[in-house]
Amino acid sequence: MRNYLAGSIILLAAMLALSTVARAQTEDGQAGQQAGANRGRGRGQANAPSPTANLPFDPHDFSGVWMGRSEAPIGRLSSKVPAMTPWAQARYDAAKPGLGPRAQPLGNDPIMICDPIGYPRIAHGGAYPMEFVQTKDRLIEFFDFFYTYRTIYLDGRPLPSDPEPRWYGYSVGRWEGNTLVVESAGFNDQSWLDTDGHPHTDQMQIEERFQRVDHDTIEAKMTVTDSKAYTAPWVTSVTWKLSPKQKMREDLCAPSDEAKYKQEMREPAAQKN
């Protein structure tokens, strides 16, 4: 009996772990993760072999529409959270997220008033497609989530030395063999790093290493360094799957739509008049 129970528990744990991997880790649903080949909720289709994975490809060409899956649990930038400085801890404590273990009604997530979601948080919004458009000297990453983009310059320019802070920063890339190494800096400190409300400063620097490992897959490893906020870097990754059937839409956050939603749904659900 004891062996039976122990075996069942181990098996259940394994199943849950696998299902967690299979499920998308997104901010607003994972159905889109199956976009392209599969429509559905990620109930087992995610690991099905793709008929196009073995097609020939150019490892230096990322062109196409992709769907991302973060390695992180829902709401977090990475599975391991580095220790915060007192400054970051205070900001984190003041953040009231709408999703995750600290979720509360009527929170203060900046995107709930349609502030730009910022980078790198947008890269983990996996329900939405991203399109790489590549030219000789730049790679443009169009995000359907928040209907925005960032430019990664491939022409050898350095990062600006005294940049005007941006929500999506400045990015330059270089090839190291078949790995595109992208350095980013020049962010403002207004966006959250993740849905759980982790902050960052304007000193945040990001290194990403993109590698197209097969026709259908780009592995993107990310290291976020922000010593004014964290005692160690955040290390995370996103796996991007080529999703040619996925449509790029117009997932804008329109302030008037958000205000109507707040008035008709969010507030009446959370408080009585």
Partner: protein, 135 residues
Amino acid sequence: MRKRLSIYFWLAAAVLMISAPTFAHHGSIVSYDINKIVTMEGTVTEFQWRNPHVYVMYDVKDAQGKVVNWGAETHSPIVCENQDGWTKSTLKPGDKITITVFPSKIGTTRGLLAKIVLNGKVIIDDTGRGVQAGQ
């Protein structure tokens, strides 16, 4: 006894695995009691096919015959489209629906959409969301 326990054990495992952690950064799921469901017959008064969340407003007759307007929200349009094949014309004012929601914790006429039956057809079934307590 052992057999019965085993069945419940694996049922629970199955439910946990298929549950979709699909809601939403726009700060709402914590407002709903996902351990409770309410099913109503309603008439659609408004269908909001837009960000941040798609929602439907509908009239329901209460026990005294008084018409009460309810609202139920679901995913963003892209998720509704990818997951359930919804479009901007999936629902329209005047549609008669059987709607199941996870009601608001404070007892207001709002809910998190669990299921809709329209013309005898299930057009969304998110009742599996009920195991997402704490999300």
